[in-house]
C-alpha cells in the first residue's frame, strides 16, 4: 500500500462556509451514485447545496477513455447558495482520464484525491498522458492525496464471495467513505440507504459497507490526511426539508396538481434524455390514479395526451427538444381545438440530437414559434430544481382555466440538479380549478367565457353537448367548419387574445437589487442561480446592478416593459445563441445586450461577473475560457 502526501497539511479541522467538490471517474465507476450519496448526507446535515451531475450520453463508453468520464459536482454551504459552484475546491479522480478532463477546473491549491492504483501504463495511454502526472511534478500546484483505492478496497473485501469485477465496483464506496471523513460527515445516511437498496443482495451490501468503512477508517488512521473540513449547517427558513431533483419535483408537482384538482392525470411520453425520469416517477404513482403511457413515438405521446384532454382529464406529455419538434403538429391541434394540455420540455443541447446529457435553454423560440400558422401557446419556466414543483402546478392551473396548451421549459441542469427543498404544506397551495361544460351553463360547445375567452370543456358523456371539433378553422359563433375570411381573422386574434389574457393570472416581475440603476440582468429558467449570484456579487462590489428572472415567457408579466425602462442597460444571459433577448427587443424596442453561452454547461458566476464588468465599462471584452 503506497500513500503519501506531497504537500504539508495542517492537522486541524478547518471551518469553511462553502466547499465545492467534484467526483470524477469512468462512467462505470459509480460517480453519480457517490455524488448523490454525499449530497444526501450533506442535505440531511443541514447545509444549503446545489449539484451538477455531468455524464456522457453513452451508458458505458470505452473504459478509461476521455469521453467516458462521468462527473458529479456539488457545492455545499452554511449560507444560502444558488449554484453548484464555479470551480471545485476538491477533486476526486478515480482514473487518469478523470484527472485529465477535470484538473483544469480545480482551484490552485485545491485538494486532489487520486486512486493511484489506476494510474497504470494502459490507463495513462488511454487518457493521453505521456508521463505519469503523479510522478512528473505537474500536480505540484495542488495538495495531492494519492492512495491505492483499488488495492486497499480489495483488501477490505477479503473473504467475501465476490469476483474481481464486483470488488472493483465498490471502489466508489471506499472513496465516499474517505470523503465523508474529510468533511466531517457521519456515515449513517449512506448506511441506511445502502441497507435498503441492497437488501436482496447481502454480499454486495456487505461489500459496499465494508468499502465505505474502510475508506472512512483510512482517513481516521492513516495519519496521512492531515486536514479535515467542517461546513456548519446553513441558517435557512425553519421547516421540514427534503432533498429533491428537478425531475422529481416536476413529477411531484404534476401529481399534486391532479390531487388538488381532483381530476385524473394522464401522462404519455416517449423515452428521451433528460425527461425520462419524469415518466419513471409518474409510472410509479398509480395509487394516485395516474395513468401513464409509453407511446410508440413523440407524436403519439402528444396525440394520446390530446385524446385524454378531449376526454376531460388532465393531459400531460413530456419530452426534450427533438421531441418537441415532433410534437409541433399535435400541439397545434390542441391550439386549434382549444383543449387544455401541458407539454413538459426538459431542454438539452441541440440542434438535432445535439448533446443529449448536456444542458441548454435553446428551445424558447421553438416553443414560441415552432408551429405553422399563428399559433400562440403559454410558456413558463422553472428557475430551480424545487421550483419545478410549483411550475408544474401552475402549468395546469393556466391550461385548465384558459383551455390552452402550456409549455413548461425545464432543462437538463434543473432536471438532474438537486437542492434541499422546504416541503410545502398542502393546505397552503392554491387550488387547481376546472369545469366540464353542462347544459345548465352553456348551450353549445363553443360558447366562450367572456373573461378568459375560453370555450367550454364539453366532454364525451355529457348529453346534449355532442359536437365535432378538429383542426379545421371553425366559426367563432358555432364551432362549425368555417372558411370565411373575416371569421379566420377574428379567430386568429381570439386565439392570441386568450393567451394574452393569461397575464391577468400572473404576478408582476420582481427585481432583486436596486429598483433603478446602471444595469439589469434579465434571465429565465435554469440560469436563475448563476444570474442571481452574479448580481449579488456585483452589488457587494458597489455596482449598480439588479437582476430579475422571468418565470412567464408568454405572456410576459404586465410590468416587464416598465421594469426594463428603469435601467440604463439590460443584459440577457442565456444558454443559447440569443432567444429571450430577441423576444424582449422585439416587444419592447429595448437595446438588450445578449450574453450567450452555448457549451452544454451552466453559467459560472464568474462568467456573468466578467460580462457585467465589460458592459459597465470596467474591463475589456469578456472572453469565455472553455
Amino acid at each position: 500500500m503506497t500513500t503519501e502526501i506531497e504537500s504539508p497539511l495542517s492537522e486541524a479541522i478547518t471551518t469553511r462556509d462553502r466547499v465545492t467538490i467534484r467526483f470524477a471517474g469512468d462512467s462505470g465507476d459509480g460517480m453519480q451514485l457517490t455524488g448523490t450519496q454525499f449530497t444526501r448526507t450533506t442535505a440531511v446535515y443541514g447545509n444549503d447545496l446545489a449539484t451538477l451531475p455531468d455524464y456522457p450520453a453513452e451508458i458505458r463508453a470505452p473504459t478509461g477513455s476521455l469521453p467516458g468520464v462521468s462527473g458529479f459536482q456539488l457545492s455545499f454551504s452554511s449560507n444560502d447558495i444558488h449554484t453548484p459552484g464555479d470551480n471545485p475546491d476538491a477533486l476526486v479522480a478515480m482514473n487518469p482520464a478523470a484527472l485529465k478532463t477535470n484538473l483544469g477546473d480545480l482551484i490552485p491549491g485545491g485538494l486532489l484525491i487520486v486512486d493511484e492504483g489506476e494510474f497504470n501504463a494502459t490507463n495513462l495511454r488511454k487518457a493521453g498522458y505521456d508521463s505519469n502526472p503523479l510522478e512528473d511534478g505537474s500536480l505540484a500546484p495542488y495538495r495531492l492525496l494519492r492512495l491505492d483505492i483499488t488495492t486497499n478496497n480489495a483488501a477490505a473485501l477479503d473473504g467475501l464471495e465476490l469476483g474481481a469485477k464486483e470488488r472493483f465496483r465498490s471502489r466508489n464506496f471506499y472513496a465516499l467513505g474517505l470523503v465523508l471523513w474529510l468533511f466531517s460527515r457521519p456515515l449513517d445516511t449512506v448506511v441506511r440507504w445502502a441497507t435498503d437498496k441492497f437488501q436482496r443482495n447481502p454480499v454486495v451490501l456487505e461489500a459496499n459497507l465494508r468499502a465505505l468503512r474502510a475508506g472512512n477508517a483510512f482517513g481516521e488512521t492513516s495519519e496521512l490526511v492531515h486536514e479535515r473540513y467542517e461546513v456548519p449547517p446553513a441558517d435557512v427558513a425553519p421547516g421540514v426539508y427534503r432533498h429533491i431533483s428537478g425531475n422529481e419535483a416536476t413529477a411531484l408537482g404534476f401529481v399534486t396538481a391532479s390531487h388538488l384538482a381532483e381530476l385524473p392525470l394522464f401522462y404519455a411520453s416517449y423515452p428521451i434524455t433528460p425527461a425520462s425520469d419524469v415518466l419513471h416517477e409518474l409510472a410509479s404513482f398509480k395509487r394516485f390514479g395516474i395513468k401513464t403511457m409509453q407511446a410508440e413515438d413523440e407524436i403519439s405521446a402528444v396525440c394520446a395526451a390530446i385524446g385524454a384532454s378531449y376526454a376531460g382529464q388532465m393531459a400531460l406529455t413530456g419530452t426534450s427538444g427533438p421531441g418537441l419538434a415532433l410534437k409541433s403538429e399535435g400541439l397545434n391541434l390542441a391550439v386549434m381545438a382549444e383543449l387544455p394540455l401541458v407539454i413538459l420540455d426538459v431542454q438539452r443541447a441541440g440542434p438535432s440530437t445535439g448533446m443529449p446529457t448536456k444542458t441548454e435553454q435553446a428551445d424558447l423560440l421553438q416553443a414560441m414559434y415552432g408551429r405553422n400558422g399563428d399559433s400562440p401557446v403559454v410558456i413558463i419556466a422553472p428557475s430551480t430544481p424545487g421550483d419545478c414543483f410549483w411550475t408544474a402546478i401552475e402549468a395546469f392551473r393556466i391550461a385548465l382555466k384558459y383551455m390552452v396548451p402550456v409549455i413548461m421549459l425545464s432543462d437538463g441542469y434543473l432536471a438532474n440538479g438537486s437542492q434541499p427543498w422546504l416541503i410545502p404544506k398542502l393546505a397552503e397551495i392554491p387550488p387547481v380549478e376546472w369545469r366540464h361544460a353542462d347544459l345548465s351553463r352553456v348551450s353549445h360547445a363553443y360558447e366562450r367565457d367572456p373573461d378568459t375567452l375560453a370555450r367550454p370543456w364539453a366532454v364525451p358523456g355529457q348529453a346534449g353537448l355532442e359536437h365535432r371539433v378538429g383542426g379545421l378553422e371553425k366559426s367563432y359563433e358555432t364551432g362549425d367548419i368555417n372558411y370565411e375570411p373575416g371569421n379566420h381573422h377574428k379567430m386568429t386574434l381570439t386565439r392570441a387574445e386568450r393567451v394574452a389574457k393569461v397575464v391577468n393570472d400572473i404576478p408582476d416581475l420582481e427585481v432583486t437589487g436596486p429598483q433603478e440603476g446602471d444595469l439589469l440582468l434579465l434571465g429565465w429558467g435554469g440560469t436563475y442561480g448563476a444570474i442571481t449570484s452574479a448580481g449579488e456579487r456585483a452589488r457587494a462590489e458597489g455596482k449598480s446592478v439588479a437582476s430579475a428572472h422571468l418565470r412567464h415567457l408568454n405572456p410576459f408579466p404586465a410590468n416587464l416593459g416598465e421594469v426594463l425602462s428603469r435601467y440604463d442597460k439590460v443584459m440577457v444571459p442565456e444558454l443559447n445563441n440569443g432567444q429571450l433577448s430577441v423576444l424582449v427587443r422585439a416587444e419592447f424596442l429595448v437595446d438588450a445586450i445578449p450574453f450567450n453561452k452555448i457549451a452544454g454547461q451552466p453559467f459560472k458566476i464568474a462568467e456573468i461577473s466578467g460580462k457585467i464588468d465589460e458592459v459597465l465599462g470596467l474591463s475589456g471584452p469578456f472572453e469565455f475560457e472553455f
Partner: protein, 344 residues
C-alpha cells in the same frame, strides 16, 4: 320509448335510438356517388343496435376524405390530424375506458402517414373499432397513388405507373396482432352493416377494411370483382365454422394444398374444402386467405380473425384499481419523500 340497456349499469334505461338520431346537422360534402355515403349510412344503421347513448360514443378521424366522417354522425367527434387518429383514440379510450370509440381512417391516413400509430393501436389491443376506407388512391389531394395502389397504377404523381409494391391492410393488421380483422365492401350494404356491427361489439382492437370506390380518381377499382353481377363468382364470404364456398349457387370452393389455397369447381362435398376458423391463436390461416386475390382467386370478404385478449385500456385500468386496493396513501407523504430533516 325506452329499452333495457345492454351496456353499463344494470337497470339503466336508455332511449331506443334510430338511424336518424345519428344523423348530424352538418351538410355532407363528399362527391356525389362516393362510396363513403354507403359506409356512413351503414354505420348510422348500426349504431342504434349497440344500445349505447349517443353522448358516450366518440368518432375520431385523421385527414382525408374518409376522415370527414365524424362531422356527419351526431355523436361526439374529433377530426384530428393526418395519421394520428389511432394515437388520439388510444389516449381517449385509456383515459375513459367506458366510452365507445371508433377510428375512421383511409389507406393514406392509416397506412402511410399514420401506419406506425395504427400498428401500435392494434398490437396494444386498445378497445376501439377502426374502419379503414380503402379506395387505393389519394382523393382529397386530387389523385396521387396510395400505399394500397397496385404497382404500375398510373396516377398524377406516377404518370408512367407506380414503382411501389402495395401494402395489404389485412396482412398488416394480422401481423400487428389485431384481435378482430375483417373486410367488407361499400356496395354490399348488408354485409357491410353486419360486419360493422360485429366489429363494434368486439372487445379489443377491431379492424375493418372497407373496399370503397372513389368515383372521381379511381373509379371501378374494385368493380371487376365487387360489382353486383359478378360478386358471387369473384368474392368468397368467410364465415366461421363453414366451408369456403362461392358462386351463384355456392357451387365452388376453396381447399388447401399445403400452404397453398386452390379453387375447386363443383366439389363432391364440404369435406374437401377449407373450413374457416376465425378463432385460431396463430395467424397462419387468415394470412393465407388474405393472399387470395382476383383473378386467381375469389376475393375474401368477412371476418378473418376474431379472438379474445385483454385490452390495453382494461389492463391500464386494472393496474390503477389494484394499486388503489391498498389504503390510500397521503399525497403529503409522497411529497415529503423517504427522508426529511427539520430546521427549527
Amino acid at each position: 320509448m325506452t329499452a333495457a340497456s345492454t351496456n353499463g349499469a344494470m337497470d339503466e334505461e336508455i332511449p331506443l335510438l334510430t338511424r336518424k338520431d345519428f344523423v348530424s346537422d352538418q351538410e355532407v360534402r363528399w362527391c356525389p356517388g362516393c362510396g363513403d355515403y354507403s359506409i356512413l349510412a351503414q354505420m348510422q344503421k348500426t349504431l342504434p343496435g349497440l344500445r349505447i347513448p349517443r353522448e358516450e360514443i366518440v368518432f375520431v378521424s385523421g385527414i382525408g376524405c374518409s376522415s370527414r366522417f365524424p362531422y356527419y354522425v351526431n355523436t361526439y367527434g374529433f377530426h384530428t390530424i393526418h395519421g394520428r387518429a389511432p394515437a388520439i383514440a388510444t389516449g381517449l379510450k385509456t383515459a375513459r375506458p367506458e366510452l365507445t370509440v371508433f377510428v375512421i381512417t383511409g389507406d393514406g391516413d392509416g397506412l402511410s402517414i399514420g401506419g406506425n400509430h395504427l400498428m401500435h393501436l392494434l398490437r396494444r389491443n386498445v378497445d376501439v373499432t377502426v374502419v379503414l376506407f380503402n379506395n387505393r388512391i389519394y382523393g382529397l389531394t386530387k389523385g396521387q397513388y396510395s400505399p394500397t395502389s397496385p404497382i404500375g397504377k398510373v396516377t398524377k404523381s406516377a404518370p408512367m405507373g407506380t414503382t411501389e409494391n402495395p401494402l395489404d391492410p389485412i396482412k398488416m393488421a394480422l401481423a400487428a396482432g389485431a384481435t378482430f380483422v375483417a373486410r367488407s365492401v361499400d356496395r354490399d350494404t348488408k354485409h357491410l352493416e353486419s360486419t360493422l356491427a360485429t366489429a363494434a361489439q368486439h372487445k379489443g382492437a377491431a379492424f375493418v377494411e372497407v373496399f370503397q370506390n372513389c368515383n372521381i380518381y379511381n373509379d371501378g377499382a374494385f368493380a371487376s370483382f365487387a360489382d353486383k353481377d359478378v360478386r358471387q363468382d369473384r368474392m368468397v364470404y368467410l364465415e366461421h365454422g363453414k366451408p369456403l364456398r362461392y358462386g351463384k349457387h355456392l357451387e365452388h370452393g376453396i381447399r388447401l394444398n399445403g400452404f397453398q389455397p386452390e379453387t375447386v369447381e363443383n366439389p363432391m362435398s364440404d369435406d374437401e374444402l377449407l373450413e374457416h376458423d376465425t378463432g385460431r391463436d396463430d395467424i397462419a390461416l387468415p394470412m393465407i386467405l388474405s393472399g387470395m386475390d382476383y383473378p386467381d382467386f375469389p376475393v375474401p370478404l368477412g371476418i378473418f380473425r376474431q379472438i379474445e385478449r385483454e385490452t390495453y385500456d382494461g389492463l391500464v385500468q386494472d393496474q390503477i384499481d389494484v394499486s388503489r386496493l391498498a389504503p390510500e396513501p397521503a399525497i403529503e407523504d409522497l411529497i415529503a419523500g423517504p427522508e426529511t430533516w427539520s430546521v427549527l
